[in-house]
């Protein structure tokens, strides 16, 4: 049931994309998003799409997994599409019915917007699919490192993120279990008015919170036992190092962004 959620899951692998430094991938994602939002016509969209397809191929992530991850987002996608189709003013009217007018511009805009969201999400998925959450937090911590000088708790934040990621599956499983147990005592989560349904959540939320606090407490003790004292004096098993492929990745990212900006300026 709840266990099937794949959002933000990591698929271990050995592709070039997997082996890139997480910092490279993070920076690259930023470049990619900027390029995506700069793109303003068929050619630049096509360019970004071609690039995305290329990365997917290289990463060897099965297309099926990416499509499956999209499922929870179908609603947002359709909503965006409808909004754009119906509420974009334009000159070439395709259909006019009652107060609804659909224009060619609206349809084009809807397609663009949906493509943009799809590509944005796919790109982000690729990052989380090919980067272990730990590498990701390490990368973030390293990139945000300079902020430590401003007394921002960068290490603590990344540690928190790491632990949150670690406990999400555990807590999902636990929620599942508690729901089943309360259902076995006749709790009803599906029927009744909104207020009744909100009330029905109490028997789930109370045990879930209590258990989360208990876990947090035990984890804190266990971490202390393993000599955790915060970020100071801590070393890392895996040091982040840029390699040849990272350079290629930066270069191709720069090329992509350059091309899209050029296309935008010349309005092609």
């Amino acid at each position: 049931m709840l266990k099937d959620i794949t959002l933000g899951q990591f698929f271990p692998g050995d592709s070039i994309i997997h082996r890139l430094d997480p910092r490279t991938k993070l920076i690259f994602l930023v470049i990619y998003i900027v390029a995506l939002f700069t793109a303003s016509n068929w050619i630049s969209y096509g360019l970004v799409l071609a690039f995305l397809i290329f990365v997917i191929c290289v990463s060897k992530i099965p297309l099926k997994s990416i499509v499956r991850g999209m499922k929870p987002l179908v609603f947002i996608l359709i909503f965006t599409g409808i909004l754009n189709i119906f509420f974009t003013a334009g000159e070439t009217v395709l259909v006019s019915f009652w107060i609804i007018t659909i224009t060619l511009e609206g349809v084009i805009r809807a397609v663009f917007m949906m493509a943009r969201i799809l590509m944005l999400i796919t790109g982000t998925f690729l990052l989380t699919y090919t980067t272990s959450p730990i590498a990701l937090t390490d990368g973030l911590e390293s990139l945000l490192g300079p902020l430590k000088k401003l007394h921002l708790p960068v290490h603590e934040l990344s540690m928190m993120m790491c632990i949150a990621l670690r406990f999400i599956p555990t807590l999902i499983e636990e929620t599942d279990k508690i729901m089943c147990a309360q259902k076995a005592r006749g709790a009803d989560f599906e029927n009744g008015s909104l207020i009744q349904r909100v009330k029905a959540l109490v028997p789930i939320l109370v045990p879930l919170f209590i258990s989360a606090f208990r876990r947090a407490d035990e984890l804190a003790t266990a971490m202390e036992c393993r000599c955790y004292q915060g970020g100071e004096g801590r070393t890392k098993m895996k040091l982040l190092r840029y390699h040849r492929w990272d350079l290629y990745a930066f270069l191709s990212g720069a090329l992509l962004l350059g091309a899209v900006i050029t296309l935008h300026i010349f309005g092609l």
Partner: protein, 287 residues
């Protein structure tokens, strides 16, 4: 007597149509007589917990039917809901599901969901508390102030208060010390005797199921591979060991005694072992 529970050709597949598709139960059929104590054994991941969740309609079979008192529990909606109350299910570590301010209110949760009258709820709560040995003072306490063993018993009382005809327990003694284990098992027996209830208990403790159960179901890799009285099941000692399961300690000792040439019948509880050995001497006790 007509069986109270009957499982016919039950198959359950999780996440059908996804890459996570996984068969948890394969073509399982058995029936349970009223008043019987059935032990369910099998290694972790053999499908025991999935099977238990089918008995009260928490999970819907991918194939096959579950008959409660002769009627398919999925044949109409009211019957499915009723099966939740007629078949009480106690999950593993049930104390983690306590949520009310007082033990009393927590035990009353099930009966309240059944839509019973306040007097009837009160009677059931007090009776259930009696079965598990919780005092009136403890009923008014917060469940989170109880000791580990008491919490477990309060949670079991929450299911017993629904007065189910069939009480199913998934490893009710896990993580408790010997005294706590003995208490819980006694509570279950006393409920069974008082209400002539049917019990199904999942357990890893061969010593416990050998002593308590009338009949055993053995699950292995999603299939029901053996079914019979403890005597019948434990006579297949080697097969059980091959499945990664244990056999009771005394059974192992007696197997060895037979190898050493002592003419003893196989046994599976301590009492039987003592009896068998004493019989050997024909009541001639050495001082």
């Amino acid at each position: 007597m007509a069986p109270i529970l009957e499982v016919r050709g039950l198959t359950h597949i999780y996440s059908v149509g996804t890459p996570f598709e996984h068969t948890a139960l394969k073509d399982i059929s058995f029936s349970v007589e009223p008043g019987e104590f059935v032990g369910v054994i099998g290694h972790t991941g053999s499908g025991k917990s999935t099977l238990m969740q089918h008995m009260n309609g928490l999970l819907k079979p991918t194939e096959g039917t579950i008959l409660l008192g002769g009627k398919d529990i999925w044949s109409d909606k009211a019957l499915t809901r009723q099966s939740r109350f007629r078949v009480g299910l106690v999950f593993q570590y049930p104390e983690y599901q306590l949520f009310e301010e007082t033990v009393y209110k927590d035990i009353a949760f099930g009966p309240k969901n059944m839509g019973l009258k306040p007097e009837e709820i009160d009677r059931r709560v007090r009776e259930a508390a009696g079965f598990v040995g919780l005092s009136d003072a403890q009923l008014q306490a917060s469940p989170f102030d109880l000791s580990g063993g008491q919490k477990r018993r309060a949670a079991i009382a929450g299911v017993i208060a629904m007065e189910p005809e069939v009480l199913i327990l998934d490893e009710p003694t896990a993580g408790l010390d010997p005294e706590g284990r003995a208490e819980i098992l006694e509570n279950i027996e006393s409920y069974r005797k008082a209400k002539n209830a049917t019990i199904m208990m999942v357990s890893h403790s061969m010593n416990d199921v050998a002593r308590l159960a009338d009949r055993l179901l053995v699950l292995c890799d999603s299939r029901l591979v053996m079914e019979g009285t403890p005597k019948e099941v434990f006579s297949h000692a080697q097969e059980l060991l091959d499945m990664g399961l244990d056999i009771p300690d005394v059974t192992r000792v007696f197997l060895r005694l037979r190898q050493l040439g002592l003419p003893v019948a196989p046994v599976y509880t301590l009492d039987q072992a003592v009896e068998a050995l004493l019989a050997l001497k024909g009541g001639d006790h050495r001082a």
